[in-house]
């Protein structure tokens, strides 16, 4: 895949973040931005015909291992953020009875 295409995924994520009025959709858009960045980084570190970065005698050309190491960390952090955000959106739904941003930000919480 072309790096430009993955950058377009990032831009789609930002577009969605600035148009979606729903908390769950916003969470997904952040995830999409994150996936786009991960694909972008892996793509830039990759090239055609390079083999996996595990040291052995026969292998002569390997892809850059650093992006892969870094992106594993990013995936872990991203899943944490998604889990946190989904948990918080459930709580927000319990307290406000809605997951639309305009209802949540403009309204007092429901008395349970």
């Amino acid at each position: 895949m072309d790096p430009i295409l993955t950058f377009i995924v990032v831009l789609i994520g930002f577009y969605g973040l600035s148009t979606s009025s729903n908390i769950i959709k916003s969470v997904f858009m952040v995830t999409i931005i994150e996936s786009g960045i991960i694909l972008l980084f892996l793509n830039l570190g990759n090239y055609q015909g390079g083999s996996i970065p595990i040291f052995s005698e026969q292998v002569t050309s390997i892809v850059d291992p650093l992006p892969q190491a870094l992106m594993i960390t990013t995936i872990v952090i991203g899943s944490t953020v998604t889990a946190m955000a989904l948990m918080l959106s459930i709580k927000v739904f319990h307290y406000y009875g809605s997951i639309e941003w305009k209802d949540v930000l403009g309204r007092e919480e429901l008395k349970l």
């Binding site: 973040l17 600035s18 009025s21 931005i33 992006p67 918080l88 941003w101």
Partner: protein, 534 residues
């Protein structure tokens, strides 16, 4: 000796894990022990390396420094470390005294300390990203810790806005990696003359800076800050205002040091951004009625003043900006902690409903007044020193000087409004005397006064900068201050206290989450046009 930065990160995190596992009330005191160990280690480390900061650089596992993860320190990062240690002491003492020593709360609080040390001392861009994101997650949990509807709302708002900001920071890191082939800040600094003029590196600068703008709550993207600070517990608000937001400004300094050889003309842009931040923050602060919201918007405006200082070519003004970070950390955490005590006793946050605080709790009132005098820039208190340095440096340029003057009047007005809580008869009794809480407030108040009076030897010793050109006892300084107060009082009496038309409109002004993201993207576009295309 050289591995002490690792211990500073590990010890709080490890102690917090032990506290979390044992869930024992006595085990909570391990937090204080860990804090004491961290304090001693930081002091030993500073004494060993002061004057020879190049030696603090080390790479984990003995790798080549272009590949391995490294840590390093300088006078700036170590002074931030000491500020962190001090603030965490005060917040821990304050929390322990409130009686609800919830082990979960202590766990997240201590964990955040370790992560924040990581942000300060790392020499690796990707590590910086990891620590930033971890800090964002932990702060979200701490904001939502009250388990009320509005704290969950503020938590998710904070988390999503900050994650979007940190992810743009990550794109910047990726672009830098594919130009330089390394993410070690020292190596990049040395290689910067080679690649500084390339478009992709300029674009990376824009992305890094827009991430930092979200983190440090600059003008168009500060909307998360009042949400978060208004609803969090007072100890957490103090921590957020005092330190976590300053993490963004620290990164601003670091990234600009990294780009020093590229010679970008960022001064004018960030000065305007800082001035706008300060003015908008003061405007919103004047219109608020909620005590914590007032303080939160003042954090925004003070960050604007720091940004005005930091984006200056004059070394003295720049140093004034750095010094204002420290001074603001002291007096704003003092104000938030004091406000927390008052709110807890009066059970309301509305400024017009709280009266007679001075009669009810004289000590807390005195410490609050010290904080208020500091933030308005009264001579003999610490806010005066850094504001004077900035004012002294920009007094030749008329428009800059008057901008700062207007901001000072706004600050004075809104603290005159807030000081109304002290007047009036004693309305309720305050039976509990919380010694540790008062001790924490008193230490910060002493810090304010000491930094405001003995600034020459302190700054000479720590940063090696001579401030003897700032004189406290000058008629003009006192005249300036009282003039500001007088104008502020008139402004308060005739406009703010009557709640005239523009004030309620500003108070009720709010923007949606989507709009704040559009504004964030607009900021990136504007910065791209300014830095890359022009």
């Amino acid at each position: 000796m050289i591995f002490i930065p690792v211990y500073l990160v590990i010890i709080p995190i490890f102690a917090s894990l032990v506290i979390y596992i044992f869930k024992n009330k006595h085990m909570n005191y391990l937090a204080l022990l860990a804090q004491a160990v961290v304090t001693v280690l930081a002091i030993v480390y500073y004494q060993h390396f002061s004057g020879n900061f190049e030696a603090t650089m080390f790479v984990f596992g003995g790798w080549d420094d272009r590949i391995g993860i490294s840590m390093s320190n300088d006078a700036l990062s170590l002074s931030f470390v000491f500020l962190t240690v001090f603030t965490w002491w005060m917040v821990l003492l304050y929390t322990f005294d409130k009686g609800n020593t919830n082990h979960n709360f202590i766990f997240f609080l201590l964990f955040l300390e370790g992560v924040f040390f990581g942000i300060l001392m790392t020499n690796d861009l990707f590590n910086m990203f990891v620590f930033l994101e971890l800090a964002a997650i932990l702060v979200t949990i701490l904001i939502a810790f009250n388990k009320a509807g509005n704290s969950f709302r503020a938590g998710i708002y904070y988390l999503l806005v900050n994650t979007a900001g940190v992810l743009t920071f990550l794109i910047g890191i990726i672009l830098i990696y594919f130009t330089f082939g390394t993410i070690n800040i020292n190596v990049i600094t040395n290689l910067m003359p080679l690649y500084g003029d390339e478009l992709i590196i300029k674009f990376a600068y824009v992305l890094l800076m827009s991430g930092i703008a979200v983190k440090s709550a600059l003008f168009p993207v500060f909307t998360w800050l009042p949400h978060a600070h208004g609803v969090a517990q007072s100890a957490i608000s103090a921590l957020l205002s005092g330190l976590i937001v300053k993490g963004g400004l620290y990164l601003f300094i670091r990234i600009n040091q990294m780009y020093a050889a590229a010679n970008y003309d960022y001064y004018a842009f960030f000065f305007v951004l800082g001035a706008l931040t300060a003015i908008v923050g003061v405007m919103f602060a004047l219109s608020q009625k909620d005590m914590k919201q007032i303080l939160a918007y003042h954090t925004v405006s003070q960050i604007g003043i720091m940004m005005m200082g930091l984006s200056s070519q004059d070394v003295n003004v720049y140093y004034g900006g750095v010094l204002h970070i420290f001074n603001h950390a002291l007096f704003k955490s003092l104000l938030f902690l004091g406000a927390g005590v008052i709110i807890k006793v009066y059970r309301t946050k509305k400024v017009n409903e709280i009266r007679g605080v001075f009669k009810t709790m004289p000590w807390v009132s005195i410490f609050m007044i010290v904080g208020m005098l500091s933030i308005t820039g009264a001579p003999l208190f610490n806010g005066f020193i850094s504001k004077s340095i900035i004012k002294y440096g920009i007094q030749d340029s008329g428009i800059k000087y008057w901008t700062l003057f207007i901001i000072n009047i706004g600050t004075a007005t809104s603290f005159i409004k807030m000081s109304q809580i002290f007047f009036g008869p004693q309305s309720l009794s305050y039976p509990m005397q919380r010694k540790l809480q008062n001790f924490a407030l008193m230490s910060i108040a002493f810090g304010c006064i000491i930094l405001g009076n003995f600034y020459i030897p302190i700054n000479q010793g720590f940063f090696g900068i001579d401030l003897s050109y700032i004189h406290i006892f000058e008629f003009a300084k006192f005249f300036d201050y009282f003039l500001t107060l007088a104008i502020g009082y008139l402004f308060y009496y005739f406009i703010i206290s009557k709640d005239k038309p523009p004030i309620p409109n500003i108070r009720n002004f709010s923007i949606s989450f989507e709009a704040s993201n559009i504004i964030f993207i607009a900021l990136i576009v504007v910065m791209t046009i300014y830095f890359v295309l022009l």
